[in-house]
Point group: C2
Chain length 279, copies 2
């Protein structure tokens, strides 16, 4: 029934499925191709040139599926590789950082915005730079790396006492700076929202997945083709799921991130990725 | 001055330097070539075929440095790839698991032994199988995966309240089974020894690095060549250090793991690793 090309999404692992969840909500008629680079996860503790090369290989794999655009669901890859991808890839490439920054700027009342993310994302200063640009210098930004949140989420310790104590330690300096809004600069963090809401109930937590999906729906997909969708969206969205390594935890985590049961993923080897890539 | 070949050591990251530390103590005259696969760290959450392939590529890189033997310092790689490496590599390959198991069996008084490690190592049951074999069925083994220990150590949270609470949760079921000896089945864990000693003071904690180094000194190195060492060992051991990705944290962590200042590492790309490998 579909005459349109699928939307490509990649992430270092399966956290990017939190972005796919929002994309499905905004674009229930679209088809998706998802690649999780689980053989090299995480990206957040790797160097910029390495993240750039891995991202390029992921993007080129998605291009072999004739995608209409590529959503870089990984914050680290969006922070370190977006410019490079835009210069080398023939379809629109959308990162999660600018939509999250714009939305946080709109939501903040006092103009003091916090950002939490991986060491690589925070070290890149990309959120500060972007918030400064979109607000014309009208916000103050305070950032902190939360490297333990990803392993805690992957363990499913979403309400554990240790997670709470670690979250308090990470968030306290941001609260001391008077932030009223904090960007969740990593696709794993939305699963911690219930706990974070308890740790800092006055803060507005910004999940970049939602504004990114809205941006794609408003600016990318409708510009590319005239929709000829059936009036009723499919009850089960079509997501072709690829991973570079299989894991016994995949299905359980994927369901949690996606908010619905996920298809069995197809494994593609790193050798295949590098073979289709020029990089 | 050296007429002998260097000893090759690889690990998924830099944790293997805790094993190098013991090797230097046992073999102060030897030279070492170390490879940390930091572009793909960690191995502990990857599948067996992926760990096997990565390990093969690391071993083949070390062979290009004409090493006399290869010490697989990574427990996950020792658990999942040792047989494969021994079948394909032309020099002796030594893992950390059997030496640790033999030593734990010798040390345990009540024959109830605990094992902690990554999800992949524990899931492989390699320690149970090995302990059963070396003890002729005379020990009971209780294992538990501690996936949060690696990120906690890499954060340097060695005495943090959250680390203590997580350690208590991980170790409590082992204590309930009556273990008197616990194997630290991951090269990051020796850095947690002070904390673990407080959490369970009656337990003997076995760091596999020490018995592995002793095994290499007694069974491998002296059998391979007649030593013609100067009588005084070098004050700074010769370690050629390679990594597949650079990290700003490297130097600090390496010094901690090695117990002395480390050389600046040379970066080799994954593409280089796969190019020298047949796999």
């Amino acid at each position: 029934m579909h005459t349109t090309k699928p939307i490509g999404v990649f992430d270092s692992g399966i956290g990017g499925l939190t972005v796919v969840r929002h994309l499905i909500k905004q674009l229930p008629h679209e088809r998706f191709v998802y690649l999780g680079d689980t053989a090299r996860v995480p990206y957040g503790n790797k160097s910029a040139p390495t993240v750039e090369r891995y991202s390029q290989q992921c993007a080129e794999f998605l291009l072999t599926h004739d995608v209409q655009c590529i959503v870089v669901a990984c914050n680290t890859a969006s922070a370190l590789a977006l410019q490079h991808l835009r210069a080398t890839v023939s379809v629109p490439v959308i990162g999660v950082i600018e939509p999250a920054a714009v939305y946080a700027y709109q939501q903040s009342i006092n103009g003091v915005i916090g950002v939490i993310g991986t060491r690589a994302t925070i070290g890149s200063n990309i959120y500060s730079t972007t918030l400064d640009r979109v607000s014309h210098g009208n916000v103050r930004v305070h950032s902190t790396a939360c490297p333990l949140f990803v392993p805690l989420v992957e363990e499913g310790w979403l309400q554990h006492a240790a997670t709470r104590s670690i979250a308090e330690q990470y968030i306290e300096p941001l609260l001391a700076c008077g932030v009223d809004t904090v960007i969740l600069g990593c696709t794993h963090y939305p699963l911690l929202l219930p706990l974070l809401g308890q740790v800092a109930p006055a803060v507005q937590w910004i999940d970049g997945g939602s504004p990114t999906a809205k941006y794609v729906a408003d600016n990318i997909v409708q510009h590319l083709h005239v929709n000829e969708h059936p009036t009723v969206p499919p009850t089960i969205p079509e997501i072709r799921m690829y991973v570079t390594d299989t894991s016994p935890m995949f299905q359980q985590l994927a369901t949690q991130f996606l908010g619905m049961p996920s298809q069995e993923p197809v494994r593609v080897t790193i050798e295949h990725l590098t073979a289709v890539s020029q990089w």
